[in-house]
């Protein structure tokens, strides 16, 4: 039987990364994710890897750029303000098609924000964030076990598609502890991962390799940016076809379907238990990947279910994607809060009043 341990989300992410073969971690202290660099600073060197506390998040992401070019599994973790500093680097990762994993433990915002748990970074992470119209693969764990599992899976997805894979979570999930099963999980079986034939090793008698955060004639694999952008768009479509993940709970008989992600979805799941016991017909679609977004299941569900409720730890971001999926086929309501967790009472009441509404 697998080992069960009580562990904080942030530490679970660090442990998962090392188990998944992360060898190079770079980071900069920022609350509420400090347990990750602290964990890595001790345990990654023990496992033969490299830990550097960088001078800024800008440098963290660029150190990762170098290690990724060398073919290493590399990771950083941060919170909103640090993520903003990494955006320049992330755009270059996308252009150079280098893989890496970024754990983003959200806090309050905008600006310096607060240490409270929020889901304010949805837009920035799922829509790309920096310049140049690129995408990240985004996983949104609901509890500590998923945080542990998704961090491992992120390395596979990043390598398979040569993309940045973000594990987007909240201060609460980073800091809370819950027993988890310590086991190795894969999003892609190791033997199915493509060989990293693009990895840079020095010329070694062969044609030189270029890893370029952009495109220009005679530079790397693409003749111009149009070619690169068409290639990226094709890749993102493939990712959407292959990697869309969601959990659907009780949606077949539901009058109301809630859409929520991350820790907020945990609150919805908890509330649904009571509501269902009380005879209310409510279900949930929980996007596990935020990019690619499970548009199709929401669209399909909206053909029958006429009332949707989006619950988010922000003032309304994912609700736009749900509205897009639903179109004018159903009514979309919203419950959100941008600082601190939404209480079970609020979630329960919002769902119940929608169920009761004719």
């Amino acid at each position: 039987m697998a080992e069960i341990v009580l562990i904080k989300g942030n530490e679970a992410a660090g442990k998962a990364a090392i188990m998944a073969g992360c060898t190079h971690y770079y980071g900069y202290p920022i609350t509420p994710q400090n347990e990750i660099p602290e964990y890595m600073s001790l345990h990654l060197p023990e496992a033969g890897g490299t830990f550097i506390q960088a001078e800024s998040e800008t440098s963290s992401i660029n150190m990762m750029f170098g290690s990724a070019a060398a073919g290493m599994r590399t990771m950083t973790s941060t919170s909103g303000p640090g993520y903003s500093l990494m955006l320049e680097g992330l755009s270059h990762f996308a252009a150079a098609e280098l893989p890496c994993v970024l754990v983003l433990v959200s806090r309050g915002g905008p600006g310096g924000g607060s240490l409270e748990s929020t889901q304010l970074d949805y837009f920035s992470v799922t829509k790309g964030g920096a310049h140049g119209g690129y995408r990240n693969i985004v996983l949104a764990p609901m509890d500590v076990q998923e945080f542990f599992d998704h961090t491992q899976m992120a390395f596979d997805l990043a390598d398979k598609y040569r993309m940045v894979a973000v594990v987007l979570t909240e201060a609460t999930l980073g800091n809370m502890a819950k027993p988890i099963e310590i086991k190795r999980v894969h999003a892609v079986p190791s033997e199915e991962l493509p060989a990293k034939d693009w990895v840079m090793r020095g010329k070694a008698g062969k044609k030189k390799k270029l890893i370029v955060g952009g495109a220009a004639p005679g530079f790397g694999s693409f003749n111009d940016l149009n070619e690169l952008n068409r290639h990226l768009a094709d890749k993102y479509r493939t990712v959407a076809l292959n990697e869309t993940r969601y959990e659907a709970i009780e949606i077949e008989e539901a009058d109301v379907v809630v859409v929520a992600f991350g820790i907020t979805a945990g609150g919805v799941k908890q509330s649904l238990i009571q509501l269902n016991q009380e005879g209310y017909r409510a279900g949930m679609i929980r996007p596990i990947t935020l990019f690619p977004f499970p548009t199709e299941i929401i669209r399909k569900t909206s053909e029958r279910v006429k009332k949707f409720l989006v619950v988010e730890g922000n003032m309304g971001q994912m609700v736009e994607d749900v509205q897009f999926a639903v179109g004018d086929k159903a009514e979309v309501s919203f419950l959100g809060k941008a600082e601190g967790l939404i209480s079970l009472e609020e979630i329960y009441s919002a769902i119940r009043s929608l169920c009761e509404k004719g």
Binding site: L6, T172, N175, M176, A177, K178, K269, S343, L344
Partner: protein, 183 residues
């Protein structure tokens, strides 16, 4: 069975460790548990609290706005949590640090002079463990042995010489609760 509790006090009073120990003990007894620590930017002197849920059922959300029970280590925590506790809930008050009584009559407020009891045991460092012992006795949610097993897991090996002191602190808190709760 489902129980939730919030431990609240100043940073540095061991509020977070209390929650961690209780959650770990619950897990060792085969229960579902969550532990949610919350603290300000100050490591010492700021506010800190931790929420623990222990349940036979799966727990999907670690956040409780209105806790069933609370253990308050200082006056600001009493002021904050007394109004929130569910009717019939247990409110343990560290009376060494809090100079007033609870106002509500629909809850079970018990006053534990935890600093004095800790000093009697031999160390001011175990105030939080005294209160945890009292809470375990008040609710029966975990056994002293489970808390001790948790301590063994959390304390680094070189500090295991402190285990007997901690057991005494748990038992002191538990005994005090039993002697005074009925009154």
């Amino acid at each position: 069975m489902k129980l939730d509790v919030i431990f609240s006090g100043f940073g540095g009073q061991g509020v977070l460790v209390c929650g961690q120990l209780l959650a770990q003990a619950g897990m060792l007894e085969g229960k579902n548990v969550t532990y949610l620590p919350v603290y300000g930017s100050e490591v010492r002197g700021g506010t800190a609290h931790s929420t623990v849920i222990i349940s036979d059922e799966k727990i999907h959300y670690p956040y409780i706005e209105r806790p069933s029970n609370a253990v308050v280590f200082n006056l600001p925590s009493l002021t904050r949590y007394e109004p929130l506790i569910a009717s019939g809930g247990i409110l343990l008050i560290n009376s060494s640090m809090v100079n007033r009584n609870a106002e509500r009559e629909d809850i079970n407020a018990v006053y534990i002079p935890a600093n004095s009891l800790a000093t009697e045991v031999g160390s001011e460092q175990v105030v939080n463990i005294v209160l945890l012992g009292a809470f375990a006795a008040a609710t029966g949610v975990v056994t002293t042995d489970s808390v001790m097993d948790s301590l063994k897991m959390i304390l680094p090996e070189r500090r295991h010489n402190l285990l007997p002191l901690n057991r005494e602190a748990i038992e002191k808190g538990a005994a005090f609760y039993k002697d005074n709760a009925a009154s």
